[in-house]
């Protein structure tokens, strides 16, 4: 549960909205039609795969729900989601098979 005061939550929401807009507006708005160095474009291409896996890794290995103990259900769920996502290249297929694996494992392992 979020324990920060309401005013802080609102501050986060507004700053997140403004900052995200500025990121999206960055090149379109300020740079216009000037060219960018190729190495910057190349690095930017890897942002999603450089951020999301790192964000997920500790949540998979040390889940808060088990007080940070590695847990078979969550490891299997992550592996199934990753494999199905890579093979089908489909977000919904990944989510559904992951959810299926999670509830199946919960039912098997308890």
């Amino acid at each position: 549960m979020i324990t920060m005061p309401d005013s802080t939550v609102w501050l986060v929401i507004v700053l997140l909205g403004v900052g995200t807009f500025l990121i999206r507006f960055s090149f379109l708005g300020l740079i216009g039609d000037r060219d960018l160095p190729p190495w910057i474009l190349r690095a930017l291409r890897y942002t999603p795969v450089a951020v999301l896996p790192g964000l997920v890794a500790p949540l998979v290995l040390w889940p808060a729900a088990t007080n940070g103990e590695p847990d078979a259900t969550r490891l299997v769920t992550a592996a199934v989601t990753l494999a199905v996502g890579m093979i089908t290249k489909n977000l919904v297929a990944g989510i559904l098979s992951g959810a299926g694996a999670f509830y199946l494992m919960t039912w098997l392992v308890g």
Binding site: T3, A43, P58, T81, A83, L91, T106
Partner: protein
């Protein structure tokens, strides 16, 4: 006559965009319901959930911000993590510059506010094939693509938020967020460079996990972007004899 022809073309472009955008509803609907559920389960009220969704319009970063707030991270780190997740938008923004860089300021601001993974991909695909398309038609086309995505994202976040408050605790919903993230990035692992970047990101985030509040994640992401770039350059060089 000319006005009619223009109207027809604009209607057609909007419809074309709509057709390309429609299939994305199948992922936007469950993803937005999930966000509404997760946000309200974490303790945001209905208004906070909806204002966040309508201001930010970026699901992955909204999940990341909620996760950081639940972990009681300071505001600076909540924002830094969410912005790190959204840095790819800078790439989309850059990718649209050749096509929309000369559009009016308000048009570029509108496109920026609504810039999401799917619209950037589809628009780039279309604009690359039809470079002579006039800018107003490109904007109309983009709005067509976005119609089944953004309003649908808002509506189903609301539904998720309304349903979420009635889901009991301990339903395994804690794992919905990491699961969704994995499902989001798995389809992107299509080259060795992408896999190398992802693996680097995981290894360095875990190694640097002693650094508090996700700061290690940002360091790891920068290293992973460099590794991805280097592997790409290396692979390209190997193909040239």
């Amino acid at each position: 006559m000319q006005g009619d022809a223009m109207k027809y073309t604009m209607g057609r472009q909007y419809f074309d965009g709509l057709r390309y955008g429609a299939p994305f509803m199948f992922m936007v609907v469950p993803f937005s319901i999930l966000f509404g559920v997760v946000a309200t389960e974490a303790g945001l009220d209905l208004l906070q959930t909806m204002v966040m969704t309508m201001l930010v319009v970026a699901g992955a970063s909204q999940f990341a911000a909620i996760q950081q707030m639940v972990d009681n991270a300071p505001v600076v780190m909540v924002l830094a993590t969410a912005f790190a997740v959204n840095m790819r938008m800078a790439m989309y923004s850059a990718s649209l510059v050749p096509y929309l860089g000369k559009a009016k300021l308000w048009q570029r601001a509108l496109v920026a506010y609504l810039l999401v993974d799917q619209s950037a991909a589809v628009a780039n695909d279309k604009f690359e094939k039809e470079p002579d398309m006039p800018i107003p038609l490109k904007i109309i086309y983009l709005m067509g693509v976005l119609t089944p995505i953004v309003p649908v994202w808002f509506l189903f976040t609301l539904i998720g938020a309304l349903v979420g408050s009635s889901i009991p605790d301990g339903f395994g919903i804690d794992f919905a967020v990491p699961l969704t993230f994995i499902a989001l990035f798995a389809p992107m692992l299509k080259t060795l460079a992408h896999v190398a970047a992802a693996a680097t990101s995981v290894v360095f985030t875990l190694l640097l996990s002693f650094i508090p509040y996700g700061l290690g994640l940002i360091v790891a992401a920068v290293i992973a972007m460099a590794v991805g770039s280097l592997v790409e350059v290396w692979m390209a060089r190997r193909q040239v004899p």
